[in-house]
Symmetry: C2
Subunit: 316 residues, 2 copies
């Protein structure tokens, strides 16, 4: 488990490479929910998601420990891929990213724009391992890596340092790296704050792991409009963090995500991706108990969406 | 012309009723343009646009001068209407708003949600005057009012106070109230900063006024996807501010606005309305001379858009 020292070292390590994103007030959403709402705007982070934090921390920490990195191999549906390509360019490292054939086109294009090489494959982990071995590149896991988790934890550390003391933090869950880091940062400073994770019912790797008692592959290929949350398995490390420090994981259906997505867009005026709307979907579905005027942080995990996805809002 | 004292009084007057919006860094947009970009995020303002500033300042200033206000009558295509209804509710004043039948549906709904009464009419000013006279309400002009201009000037004052000293400020232009206020605030503090206004070529009331030498109605009904900029005439006061303090007014076509809208959404990760994208459209069209790495503020005037409008992005 990462310590407060690990997290503050990560924060110092990535400070020149990432943005300290604002914690914005959410008065309209707050009024509508009867809560005191703040929005941790990781959509404003470099590459449009929190993923830049973990990637920079992992690469820079490996260098600090004396590793010679000659290239980066990553696998991801999109946001980690973009972050890896961006960090690779920033650190002058060739980067190859394995992405699923169904990845959001704008995310694939963004990887290429950052100079990353894209391999489209259904076997993300297998292909990525192969490429890393062949080329002698460093494999960069999207979530199951203590340095990646320490990087994501800086989101939590910034919330703690913001002066807005949350009663509740709502975190979208894919493989579990973000919620692991946030829970580690928040619970070690504010043990009374609740941390609740939300995942699509059709991409529920963490719920599956909790039911099984261990992280493992989902029986079906996960699919969701919240494409950033479609990890095929929960991280083994993340499973440990979640069982230790997360209050609960809840699941939301696709219709709820679509409705919540527009509501979040309209009420926050931030361009966020569907993955970042699952917290509101869970609240609207009555899945999370709250007291009136509680201080609630919505972690706006990312903002990488496409015109085609936005057009789907008119269907609702 | 409003003075720096008028502006600081306005800022103090509206401080409890409006948000001091962030001036956000725009690293992606800046990299893409070769400029040092900052975004004045008025889409995050109460009611989703800068209009709340002018409305609160006008109503509160009238009260300070001893007026008894029993109700508010306003006319607007949308954002001023929403701000008037919001301020009316906040100040416990009944509010009626005249809007054109073609107004964005989500803006009409928002006025009603804030408790405003909506009258759909093609004769905005005439109907509004009539209603104000009949009911004894205060008419609240969307732009041609010194208190409204002083309220919008607080946007400029916040830019000046931000520590980011702009070489250039890009301001969307409808009737001209926003650019009047911003120019007054910025030019009286930073005379070297250029202020450039941008309007749709199909809704170019200010260009029309500059050509005619005086503010007056456009010969054709203005139409643009930048619905917030479709004022049928430029303000007489605004005409004076623009001729005194604005460096130039440029015009952009609809295709440019549509392309710039998606680029702004994607690169800023802010939900902004098409009106707020005209500055980028002008830059991309080569209408504005800039030097490399100049410090440029984009005024993100508002974020009130609809799923239907967003769906139009796939057409491009």
């Amino acid at each position: 488990m990462i310590t407060p020292t690990d997290i503050s070292q990560a924060a110092a390590r990535i400070a020149d490479w990432t943005l300290r994103t604002p914690l914005l007030p959410g008065p309209r959403l707050g009024e509508s929910l009867g809560l005191d709402v703040a929005l941790k705007a990781e959509n404003l982070q470099h590459t449009g998601s929190f993923k830049a934090r973990g990637v920079f921390n992992a690469l820079l920490a490996r260098r600090e420990r004396g590793a010679t990195i000659t290239g980066v191999a990553a696998f991801s549906a999109g946001n980690h891929a973009m972050a890896a390509a961006y960090a690779g360019r920033a650190l002058a490292l060739p980067t190859v990213v394995c992405m699923p054939p169904g990845a959001v086109v704008t995310k694939i294009e963004a990887v290429r724009r950052y100079g990353g090489e894209v391999i489209l494959t259904d076997d993300l982990l297998g292909t990525c391992r192969e490429v890393a071995a062949q080329r002698g590149y460093d494999l960069l896991h999207p979530f199951d890596d203590p340095d990646v988790i320490a990087g994501q934890a800086t989101v939590g550390a910034e919330i703690v340092a913001s002066g807005f003391t949350p009663d509740l933090v709502l975190v979208p869950v894919g493989g579990g790296g973000l919620i692991s880091g946030i829970a580690a940062a928040v619970k070690q400073s504010l043990p009374g704050a609740r941390i609740i994770g939300i995942e699509p019912v059709t991409a529920n790797a963490m719920t599956h792991a909790l039911r099984a008692g261990a992280a493992g592959p989902l029986p079906q290929r996960p699919q969701s409009m919240a494409d950033g949350l479609t990890a095929p398995f929960a991280g083994e490390l993340a499973f440990g963090y979640v069982t230790s420090w997360v209050d609960s994981i809840v699941e939301v259906d696709e219709d709820s995500i679509r409705r919540a997505w527009w509501e979040m867009l309209d009420q926050t005026k931030l361009l966020l991706e569907p993955s970042a709307a699952v917290g509101l979907a869970a609240l609207r579905n009555g899945l999370i108990e709250v007291r009136p005027q509680e201080r609630v942080v919505f972690v706006i995990s990312g903002g990488n969406t496409s015109p085609a996805a936005l057009a789907s809002l008119t269907v609702a």
